[in-house]
């Protein structure tokens, strides 16, 4: 697991860590893989949204057989020869092995309810969904692909922020993705963002906030600074729903919170509206 500070805890007293990834952290119901997959990784008992991998997410959104992946072979380099407790290259290789992905974003062309679109979907299991040069470049290419084909861009975000191991270059992915969105908008195309848990820091402070429509999943942490860091730095008492999608909706930072099974039909409706 990548050591990215995303401060996922939202309970006052965090429950003991679940023994198995298929155990619901909220109500402790346990599921077989196929049960979870059929339920789109949503707990049948309490509605908790389990994290969803990028490919599963894409499969749940697009019309069957319409997805064509782009730039799948882009790999991170190690521009700083970064070494903390372990070399960055080793962390990358391990993430690639365990996720089967080359980096934390999958992009490509697809159709949702018959409307063509471009997709840029993040995968939190790859180093905490952190944004380095590859994520920035893939997102940038997704914007260009959408603009060239004259279709909207749908982006699903899930990220702990910028990838520290790429130093200042990872910070530069913020202006890079911002400029890509601007070029997409100049080409007359829309971007619809679905924020999944967690959407934080550098990703929230760049392209994720710039969608024409911003949607989120229930309970997703959506914060520039996560609760743990806010608490440690400011000693403030945090509200119970600090940084959650529900609070963001109340304060006017989101258009809607949607349960996972509503996302595809909603995207279909929005694509028709923007079409």
């Amino acid at each position: 697991m990548a050591k990215i500070d995303v401060s996922i805890e939202t309970e006052d007293k965090p429950a003991p860590p679940p023994k198995h990834p298929n155990t619901c952290p909220s109500c402790h119901s346990h599921y077989r893989d196929d049960e979870l997959e059929r339920a789109q990784w949503v707990c049948a008992q309490c509605g908790h949204h389990f994290p969803m991998r990028a490919r599963a997410r894409i499969a749940s959104l697009v019309d069957e057989g319409t997805f064509y992946e782009e730039s799948a072979d882009l790999h991170s380099e190690d521009p700083l020869n970064f070494f903390d407790l372990r070399p960055y290259t080793e962390r990358l290789a391990e993430a690639e092995m365990s996720t089967g992905l080359a980096d934390a974003m999958v992009i490509g062309q697809g159709a949702i309810e018959g409307r063509g679109c471009e997709l840029a979907v993040m995968d939190f299991t790859f180093m905490g969904g952190s944004m380095g040069s590859v994520v920035g470049e893939k997102f940038s290419r997704a914007c260009d692909s959408a603009a060239e084909r004259g279709v909207p861009l749908v982006s699903v975000t899930s990220s702990g922020g910028a990838r520290m191991q790429e130093g200042i270059l990872s910070l530069m992915q913020l202006p890079k993705t911002v400029c890509a969105v601007e070029d997409l908008h100049d080409a007359g195309q829309a971007m619809i963002v679905v924020m999944a848990h967690p959407t934080t820091a550098g990703v929230l402070a760049s392209f994720a906030s710039l969608g024409d429509v911003l949607l989120a999943e229930p309970g997703a942490l959506i914060a520039f600074t996560g609760p743990r860091v806010v608490e440690q730095t400011t000693r403030e008492k945090l509200p119970d729903d600090f940084g959650l999608a529900e609070q963001n909706l109340r304060f006017g930072h989101l258009d809607a919170i949607l349960e996972r099974r509503q996302i595809r039909p909603t995207l279909g409706r929005l694509l028709r509206l923007f079409g």
């Binding site: 050591k3 990215i4 500070d5 882009l74 790999h75 991170s76 380099e77 521009p79 700083l80 970064f82 070494f83 903390d84 407790l85 380095g132 040069s133 590859v134 920035g136 470049e137 940038s140 910028a162 520290m164 191991q165 130093g167 200042i168 270059l169 910070l171 530069m172 913020l174 202006p175 890079k176 911002v178 400029c179 890509a180 969105v181 601007e182 070029d183 934080t200 820091a201 550098g202 929230l204 402070a205 760049s206 994720a208 906030s209 710039l210 959506i222 914060a223 520039f224 600074t225 806010v230 730095t233 400011t234 945090l238 509200p239 600090f242 940084g243 609070q247 304060f251 006017g252 930072h253």
Partner: protein, 311 residues
């Protein structure tokens, strides 16, 4: 690394550095020797100790802040207050002034000198209100054709409950978007700490400069150490690993030029530091006002969209 290979890298690095508009030497003939010395110095790969020295100098309590440079460089300064919505953020200073007779808009973070001022200015960490104040001044500049100068000096955007509720992430994103849209020339200079999203929010500029001992980074050395080493005390090691110094930022293409500081750092001779900064700002604006607005915007976006290393 074999010595010959190391030498090769150094020479390549020096060559690359010579090709960048380091202060546009043309107008600085009197300082060529000094520049050459500086070039030789930054041509060497900075060591961990040198990087840490920059971290310390960038945060030095006597280091000149945004308003010190305003006073030294701009005539007829008129400060603009408030975001026209919620408040006036003391950590973000905005205003209009004359640089060599030309009206410019200036935006920059401001730390404080004493504890009262530091509290009032949140140690240079803006709330979303600060970024929205910057946005409205960027737009004002755009309406009237004023070049924009951004001075970056922040540990980061303010990490608090209210800041989140008021939309810190969205405000930082919108500030960058606004800069990406401007038709006027923009020059940003990191004059102290260029801390993460809070810094890039006002640094999406046509020309990005860094003072010799400023730092520019994705996370503070302490924050990085706390996460990756699980020990904030390893900050020096973390800084050596993620290389926030000006020479490395130049090499990675993140900045366009390094602004020299007086020997020992900007705080040793603030007047000289201001003179050196002013000279580079003037040259940069003189160059950029020649470029048509569409071309300026196209180049600005193309530059930022090219940043990154991948295979």
């Amino acid at each position: 690394m074999a010595p010959s290979e190391h030498e090769l890298r150094l020479r390549e690095r020096l060559n690359r550095l010579r090709n960048v508009p380091l202060l546009g030497g043309a107008k600085l003939s009197g300082e060529l020797e000094r520049l050459q010395r500086q070039l030789d110095r930054i041509g060497q790969e900075p060591t961990g100790d040198e990087i840490w020295r920059s971290v310390e100098l960038a945060r030095h309590p006597d280091r000149p802040y945004t308003l010190d440079y305003v006073e030294a460089l701009l005539d007829d300064w008129f400060e603009l207050h408030g975001d026209r919505g919620r408040g006036d953020d003391g950590a973000m200073v905005t205003g209009l002034g004359k640089l060599d007779g030309r009206t410019v808009a200036l935006v920059g973070q401001q730390k404080g000198r004493d504890i009262q001022e530091r509290t009032r200015r949140q140690f240079g960490m803006p709330y979303p209100e600060g970024y929205r104040k910057a946005i409205r001044v960027f737009e004002l500049a755009d309406r009237h054709g004023f070049p924009v100068i951004s001075l970056v000096d922040t540990p980061g955007a303010y990490p608090g409950v209210a800041a989140e509720q008021h939309g810190q992430g969205g405000a930082i994103a919108m500030s960058q978007t606004t800069m990406a849209r401007l038709s006027v020339p923009t020059v940003a200079c990191v004059i102290g700490e260029g801390g993460s999203g809070g810094a890039i929010a006002i640094a999406l500029a046509d020309r990005v400069l860094m003072q010799e001992h400023a730092i520019y980074s994705v996370i503070s050395p302490e924050g990085c150490a706390a996460i990756l080493w699980r020990d904030a005390g390893q900050a020096k090691k973390a800084a050596a690993a993620f290389k926030p110094d000006a020479a490395h930022c130049l090499e990675l293409g993140v900045i366009d030029a390094i602004v020299p500081e007086p020997a020992g750092g900007a705080h040793v001779d603030p007047a000289e530091a201001a003179r050196l900064l002013g000279e580079t700002l003037r040259e940069s604006i003189d160059d950029l006002v020649e470029v048509p607005a569409d071309e300026l915007r196209r180049r600005r976006r193309a530059k930022f969209r090219s940043l990154g290393v991948f295979a």
